[in-house]
Amino acid sequence: MHRTAVKKVVLENVLDANDTLARANRDVFDRAETYTINMMSSPGAGKTALLERTLERLRGELRLGVLEGDVQTTLDADRLARFHIPLVQVNTDPGFGGECHLDANMVRSGLGELPLDDIDILIIENVGNLVCPAEFRVGEDVRVMVYSVTEGEEKPLKYPLMFRSADLVLVNKVDLLEHLDFDLEQFLGNLDAVNPGVRTVLTSARTGQGIGEWCGWLRQRLENV
């Protein structure tokens, strides 16, 4: 048996399907007038801790909701349950390909459980990872990156995709600065090199430093809608 091969030109972007779903999510958020934040960081930078501080301060003032992306545990969601806010946990697929980030489809699967009409700001805590989440839009209005000062000054240069895509960078764990050999100016310079002019807030989920400024930034989001 003799078979010949034919070539077919495709020219299709690999992430198109995800981007299409992300736009559909965005339409859902827009219709519900829910402002949506994709929160990304390396593992353990302090996303959940900052959310706890944020909810302590803004609960009762803003109607916040959280979508937790986590690898197979509900630990982060459990930490936020005490705030009695709309909260949904999306366990990322432990099978092929989904274990390191949220994608638009995973976020969509969690939306049915959230009363979006009653949420002013939805914060999506992405999976801790510096590479993968940057590739996958989920329908967010903005991207907030949490970076912790324990990570080293060169990270923006090593992971430019994520640092370039952030609209705001929370520089967290600044309470540890006095114990660390960390050059904050050098980090901020590296960050500005890959994402010129990006806004930063120095925060500590431990001492509360910067939480007021970050909450002010969140309030401003709603004024601009």
Partner: protein
């Protein structure tokens, strides 16, 4: 491992575009800035392709180097490694011209 997610998407695209035929080769363009590990993508591709029209197909990746124009001095740079830095003035503020590609370019299909 975003390579597995990328592999899934590549296999989905190839399966749909195959129109019921068997795929023998998938040609991709992968930009340097995507930080894709080729061996991981090839491995994931093989796994995900099982049981689809793409099973057994060869994955060919054309790696596209990064290129950027310096916003400081205007020099256009080929960027071979991270950090992305201007060869002219040493600046880091670059407008990216190439290197963010992630595309299925073409397929080779068995004639029906």
């Amino acid at each position: 491992m975003h390579e597995l997610a990328i592999a899934e998407s590549v296999v989905r695209i190839a399966s749909r575009q195959a129109d019921g035929r068997r795929v023998t080769k998938v040609q991709m363009k992968v930009g340097y800035l995507r930080q894709v590990v080729p061996s991981a993508l090839t491995f994931g591709f093989g796994l995900v392709a099982e049981g689809t029209p793409v099973e057994g197909a060869e994955l060919q990746m054309e790696q596209v180097p990064a290129e950027g124009r310096c916003r400081g001095c205007g020099v256009e740079n080929k960027l071979g490694s991270l950090p992305l830095q201007c060869g002219g003035c040493g600046g880091f503020d670059l407008e990216i011209l190439k290197g963010e590609e992630l595309m299925v370019e073409s397929l080779e299909l068995e004639e029906a």
